[in-house]
């Protein structure tokens, strides 16, 4: 029963990821694609969490946190790039 529910939720997740990939490929503007990448990271986190429940293993928690961190930093970097044209500023103007 529980397994069945978890598998169903994995199916839902797969559909969501497919939708995100559609947006990633289609997305008319750059922010769309960045948004889709961020969403992909988030859904990946969810998938790993479901897997760790399925396998009853605590080994994947580091991965969850790591993907979270990396996707956050990547998104911020992209946002910086789109907004100002540079990723890291030498001296922030004031």
């Amino acid at each position: 029963m529980i397994q069945w529910i978890l598998f169903t939720s994995l199916y839902f997740l797969t559909f969501s990821i497919l939708a995100t990939i559609y947006r990633l490929v289609k997305g008319p503007s750059a922010p769309d694609r960045v948004q889709a990448l961020d969403a992909l990271g988030i859904y990946l986190i969810a998938g790993i969490a479901i897997f760790s429940v399925l396998l009853r293993s605590t080994a994947f928690f580091e991965v969850i946190l790591l993907i979270g961190i990396l996707s956050f930093i990547g998104t911020i970097a992209f946002a910086r790039f789109i907004e100002r044209g540079v990723v890291i500023e030498r001296k922030q103007s004031d």
Binding site: F72, I76, I88, R90, Q92, D94
Partner: protein, 141 residues
């Protein structure tokens, strides 16, 4: 030019950096028996500082962390190599590891191995080199 108004980002960054640093130290320490270790711990550390770079700017981070990261890398590799040399001095082959149990005042009895020192060296080297690379790309003149 006026300063950009990104209060939300800055506020969150202050918390997130702390979380990432905690996590990196966790990764680093767990490397002896579980996945983790010097390289990954070092990289996680770098991500924290990278976040600072992104949200603030290079000058500001440099002012607050006044360390030359190349020196960091050099010291790291030196530490790693010297842990190997330590085995040589004792008459064993290069890179021989020694470990024993040490009673620390707060943590009770802890396992201490020279490979941890090696890992410290690796982590320092990774932090140093990656930050040097990031700075040299971001620091265009």
């Amino acid at each position: 030019m006026k300063k950009l108004n990104d209060v939300i980002l800055r506020t969150v960054t202050k918390t997130a950096v702390v979380i990432i640093l905690t996590f990196s130290i966790n990764l680093f320490i767990s490397g002896h028996h579980r996945p983790g270790g010097g390289f990954i711990g070092g990289l996680a550390f770098v991500t924290a500082i990278l976040l600072l770079f992104l949200v603030y700017d290079i000058e500001m981070v440099r002012k607050n962390i006044p360390i030359d990261f190349k020196v960091f890398a050099g010291i790291g590799v030196l530490i790693s190599v010297f842990t190997g040399v330590g085995g040589m001095i004792a008459g064993k082959p290069f890179l021989s590891q020694a470990f024993g149990r040490v009673a620390l005042p707060m943590f009770g009895e802890t396992e201490m191995a020279t490979s941890v020192l090696f890992d410290v060296g690796v982590a320092l080297a990774v932090i140093g080199t990656s930050l040097t690379i990031i700075m040299s790309i971001g620091d265009d003149r």
